[in-house]
Amino acid sequence: MEVELKTPISEDEVRKLKVGDTLYITGTVVTARDQAHRRALEYVREGKKLPIDFNGLAVYHCGPIVRKVGEEWEVVSAGPTTSKRMEMFEYDFIEKLKARVVIGKGGMGDKTAEACKRFGAVYAAFTGGAGVLAAKAIKRVVGVYWDDLGMPEALWVFEVERFGPLTVAIDSSGRNMFKEAQERSAGMRESALRELGVM
């Protein structure tokens, strides 16, 4: 099914999404990679106020190429980075900051799936490498925070229009498309080896 959601996204809306759905997002998407995840959770622990309220927004695993044209930022290319690296942070990130959609590539693990189920969120995959397609859907850079972390690691706040197509890969029932696919692939090992005359 194809679904378009506008931020802020409610828990009810996100709980209707199912693995395999194609999702487009309009509204606010914020990039965060390893360092930004780490710092955001540090802020939460220390009771410090974050520069942006993630509640109902989408967090995007992405280190974009951005350049300044006059006073404005231009997003040149902004495809997803490998999400697995953020697995160690994402449960807390979803619980504490109430992000409703996590966007990245390559899939995430059991802890993230558990958080999606418990707190109402989804993990959605954007096509790896499709940097221009992503940049096209970004209408404006609303702000950038924590730029001391460097261009790829900063929090970039994007205003987006029909950002996608995203494939819902973990839904709020805890179903995990990438994990299921990986298990199916592992089960095909013998057939592949037989095809090659090894077994």
Binding site: G20, T22, C62, G63, P64, I65, R67, V76, S77, A78, G79, T81, T82, K84, K105, G106, G107, A125, F126, T127, G128, G129, A130, G131, V132, L133, A135, K136, G150, P152, P165, T167, M177, F178, E180, A181, Q182, R184, S185, A186, M188, R189, S191, A192, L193, E195, L196, G197, V198
Partner: protein, 295 residues
């Protein structure tokens, strides 16, 4: 125009072309994959890939924000006047391309930080082959981090023979899974030594799609594509659509006591671009004929 400037401008343009426009054979392989994939998440991913390729061309922007670590493969003719200066010229071209395209700065010093220019210790990596003639052939070959991280090299026990090589190939694919942005192009290097097999595997990726190795190896390449696709990792790991679009094997003789194997993965965005610069200064683009991006 002096030859040095022609080489620098050509190398810069090759970096730009490789970042923005896929070689036509690579694009065709992806379009064919899209056509034969049934509706579903796999097809959605392939459609996004095709849309992205077209948008990159139209907007003259890098296909992927990871514009890779830069390497150049050169063929230097006996009668081509410039030789030891080439590395410096290519380094300058990389700095300029990084600023102008722009490319993402991807050169990080091992005990330091990102140089910000895509050049630094031993980068760009330059591989030189000597050849007859009076021309210089330059291939710009940037490679992204995602698929590099899942590439594998192993020294097999020779007793395992080709069965060991093929098992290693399947296990490398399973290990890579969705992480390296499939569907994959796979370069396989067998024999030589530690460095030789990896260099062969990377070079194999530069062989045009559709050109098979001769004889038995060519048949094996086809079987490896088929077997790899049985794993159903699928487009971007969705479990649907192709897993492997091509396998190219290059070999060297091995030491009797060793069987080195390298499996080098490229994501769907297999990016390279080749041109020839004649001694006269005339430039001929080989992979990207007639594609002009302008400045």
């Amino acid at each position: 125009m002096e030859l040095e400037k022609i080489i620098r401008d050509t190398a810069k343009n090759l970096l730009k072309l490789s970042a923005i426009v896929l070689p036509p054979t690579v694009e065709k392989a992806l379009r064919d994959a899209y056509e034969r994939t049934p509706e579903g998440p796999g097809k959605v991913q392939l459609k996004a890939i095709i849309d992205n390729i077209e948008a990159a061309k139209r907007l003259k922007k890098p296909i992927c924000q990871d514009t890779g670590v830069v390497s150049f493969y050169l063929k230097v003719g006996d009668d081509f006047p410039l030789k030891s200066g080439l590395k410096r010229i290519l380094t300058e071209a990389t700095v300029e391309a990084t600023r102008e395209v722009p490319l993402r700065p991807n050169a990080v010093e091992i005990l330091g930080s990102n140089t910000g220019t895509n050049v630094g210790t031993n980068i760009p990596w330059v591989v030189i082959e000597l050849t007859e003639g009076d021309y210089l052939e330059i291939t710009a070959f940037p490679k992204g981090g995602g698929s590099t991280n899942v590439s594998q090299v192993k020294m097999l026990s020779p007793g395992l023979g080709m069965k060991g090589v093929l098992t290693f190939y399947i296990d490398s694919l399973l290990n890579a899974g969705a992480a390296g942005c499939p569907p994959y192009f796979v370069g396989v290097g067998i024999g030589g030594g530690e460095n030789v097999c990896v260099e062969l595997a990377k070079k194999a990726l530069l062989r045009p799609i559709g050109v098979r190795a001769e004889g038995e190896l060519g048949k094996l390449e086809e079987k490896m594509i088929e077997a790899g696709n049985l794993l159903k990792i699928g487009a971007m790991g969705t479990g649907e659509g192709p897993t492997v679009l091509n396998v190219s094997i290059e070999t060297a003789c091995r030491h009797p006591a060793s069987l080195p194997v390298a499996i080098v993965f490229s994501c769907w965005a297999l990016r390279y671009s080749t041109a020839r610069v004649a001694k006269s200064g005339e430039v001929e683009y080989l992979t990207h004929r007639g594609i002009v991006l302008g400045t």
